[in-house]
């Protein structure tokens, strides 16, 4: 049988808003070409028409499962341009919300991995437990997923009363559930069989292709923007950056599960040592930062998120360039899927945690 060209297209239960053109020979993939662009909305162009504060709801929409991760870098960039010093309480609240988002995003990722592998329990449990974290975020910001909570100069609201006790109780529950996940999902022999040794990305290839996030840390490079270039109060909090050397899908799963635990550690420290004081600088609602350029980056759930902003002293940015982790992980698709089994396609695809909206902007 000669080669078939399959379009794992936008209309497919296993692809998201994204197309993979796959050439198959029997059971082996000979070539995989990613075809992004189905949800391109021109966010960078739209941002040039909106004021700095109006850009925040625009920029958090590409990544709704981790919306704080994308807005964080933008807010840091604007603060650098305008030369603002954020009060410490505001910094702590920002770190707290960003880590809650990271946990949410990783649990969502684990659930969808269950669907891709055909394990419906692995879909139901994390999705249900994620509600505990979403409730916490809702207590603080008022909405479940897209908060518009970070602003240049701090955050919009203060933490509610009793937040610390609620958080600690929710985390006790989550820790027990994470142990159960290890027992039934990670140590599951069929799960291990399907992810070990599959989609191996070596250190050199990871560097050469320029991948980011847990994909990078699963290949043995322990680079994380929170440690490389600490922002807000990350240099005052104790946490580790997990990395595993094997470079296969199994390592990437382990990296993300370990990151959830480290995020819990960070949030526990944050709620215990958060200082009193103001949480926001009073700024005019129409900001005109002085002319200049800035490049700011943070570590979102999927990897390093960066903004390049060029300001000409107007109330709208002259150029806003978004460097999103999913876009930077795109080269890994074609590289890893070559010579893989057809059944490994969803395994590899989702282990890279590709979010089509974020890549297309």
């Amino acid at each position: 049988m000669s080669e078939l060209t399959i379009s794992v297209g936008p209309q497919h239960p296993g692809s998201g808003h994204f197309r993979l053109i796959i050439n198959v020979d029997g059971d082996r993939i000979t070539k995989a070409t990613p075809d992004p662009g189905y949800v391109h909305r021109g966010v960078e162009k739209q941002a040039e028409y909106r004021e700095y504060l109006q850009n925040i709801p625009l920029l958090e929409r590409p990544v709704i499962s981790d919306s704080n991760g994308s807005v964080y870098a933008y807010v840091l960039a604007v603060e650098t341009l305008a030369g603002l010093m954020v009060p410490e309480r505001g910094q702590y609240i920002r770190v707290l919300m960003a880590e809650l988002n990271r946990m949410m995003s990783h649990l969502y990722w684990l659930a969808i991995y269950g669907i891709f592998l055909g394990h419906s329990t692995m879909f139901m449990w994390p999705f249900g437990d994620r509600e505990a974290i979403i409730d916490l975020a809702q207590r603080v910001a008022g909405t479940r997923l897209t908060y518009s909570f970070f602003v240049p100069g701090g955050v919009r609201n203060d933490l509610p009363d009793g937040f610390k006790d609620e958080t600690l109780r929710a985390f006790e529950f989550l820790e027990k559930r994470l142990e159960e996940y290890e027992a039934i999902f990670v140590k599951n022999p069929i799960f291990a069989q399907r992810t070990r040794g599959v989609g191996i990305l070596s250190r050199n290839d990871a560097t050469r292709l320029g991948v980011v996030g847990p994909t990078l840390r699963g290949s043995g490079i322990d680079s994380d923007t929170r440690k490389d270039e600490p922002y807000d109060v990350y240099d005052k909090l104790e946490f580790e950056v997990p990395s595993f050397p094997d470079g296969d899908c199994y390592s990437r799963v382990l990296v993300r599960l370990e990151e959830i635990k480290q995020s819990m550690r960070i949030v526990r420290q944050a709620v215990k040592s958060i200082p009193e004081g103001p949480f926001r600088l009073r700024l005019p609602s129409v900001m005109r930062p002085p002319a200049g350029s800035v490049y700011a980056r943070t570590e979102a759930a999927r990897g390093a998120y960066a903004y390049f902003i060029r300001s000409e002293g107007e109330k709208t940015p002259y150029r806003l360039k978004i460097s999103s982790p999913s876009f930077r992980n795109l080269p890994a698709f074609g590289f890893l899927m070559k010579e893989a089994h057809l059944a490994d396609m969803p395994t590899i695809y989702w282990s890279l945690d590709y979010w089509p909206l974020e890549a297309d902007r």
Binding site: L4, G118, I190, H341, L342
Partner: protein, 311 residues
């Protein structure tokens, strides 16, 4: 004859089985399952789904091979129902007993890959093709250990007839005498039925629905029903072959015992769906040829040796 061990009973049992599976999985997954259709915990849900499928439009792709496309679901249903005719629920409630009952059952089971290949080929769709080929590989590879494990039972009981097989279990069930055979039969049955972890031909996230992709409406309903009727048939077959069929204390009628034991087997076959992800096709084939086949051969040889020694 038509009512009790026959088609009406089988179809009602199938409806209840679908409901049972959805409730069982829901409890494992911390949710509730069907709740609203029918006064008691959504028990009419499968019937509601079937009626809904009746109302849906039958979409036949233009490029598909129309006669073969419509033939395949009917063929599958015919196979599953024929299996029912040969498997007795008890000596008084059976449709047909033949001296070579087991052989006919094995032959019928081997015809299922043919039906699936017809469905996959007639759909004229790349996803169906890949799914159909996977199903073909899977079912033919696992049919051999399945048949060999059945032969182990035949050797011990000395007959091909299902009635005599159950009679020979008066002293002890064949589950104890043939544990390897029972295990191989169990796994082979899971593969024949394309159930998790062996649901490779229907790998939703890679090939949409595999060979069932182009089937909509009542065609899909017939395929689903045929699959569950086969599930019921294989579960009762396991009971008859390894769990002593209708043998049990006389407090209830013998067919009730068969049904109770079949429900136990059905539960055991449904549980992996909540616990395991899907295996990959090459890992599954390797498992079938490198592990199940030798195990069933070992089982057969041991049974032959034991019978020869006892003579």
């Amino acid at each position: 004859m038509l009512i009790f061990p026959g088609l009406s009973f089988a179809l009602t049992f199938v409806l209840l089985m679908v409901w049972y599976e959805r409730k069982l999985l829901a409890k494992v997954q911390v949710r509730v399952g069907p709740l609203y259709a029918g006064r008691f915990e959504g028990i009419l849900q499968p019937l509601a789904d079937f009626v809904k499928l009746l109302f849906k439009e039958l979409i036949i792709p233009k490029q598909a091979d129309r006669p073969l496309f419509m033939l395949a679901p009917t063929f599958m249903m015919a196979l599953s129902v024929s299996l029912l005719a040969l498997i007795p629920l008890s000596p008084t409630y059976m449709i047909a007993d033949s001296d070579v009952g087991i052989l006919i059952i094995i032959a019928l089971l081997s015809l299922s890959p043919l039906a699936i290949t017809i469905a996959a080929w007639a759909s004229n769709n790349k996803y169906s093709l890949i799914g159909g080929l996977r199903a073909l590989h899977q079912m033919t590879s696992y049919a051999i250990p399945l048949s060999l494990s059945i032969l182990g039972v035949v050797v011990i009981s000395g007959s091909f007839s299902l009635l005599s097989i159950v009679e020979s279990q008066r002293n002890s069930w064949f589950l104890l005498l043939q544990p390897l055979g029972a295990l191989v039969f169990f796994l082979g049955a899971l593969a024949e039925l394309e159930r998790v972890p062996f649901d490779v031909p229907e790998a939703e996230t890679e090939i949409v629905m595999g060979w069932e992709t182009e089937y909509s409406g009542i065609n899909y309903g017939i395929i689903m029903t045929a699959a569950y009727v086969k599930f019921y048939a294989l579960a009762v077959l396991f009971t008859v072959l390894f769990l002593g069929g209708w043998l049990g204390p006389e407090i209830v009628a013998p067919p009730i015992w068969t049904i109770v034991k079949s429900i136990l087997v059905v539960t055991l076959m449904m549980i992996p769906r909540g616990v395991y992800p899907r295996v990959r096709i090459d890992q599954m084939l390797r498992f079938g040829w490198a592990w199940l086949l030798p195990l069933s051969l070992v089982n057969l040889i041991m049974s032959l040796a034991v019978v020869a020694l006892l003579k």
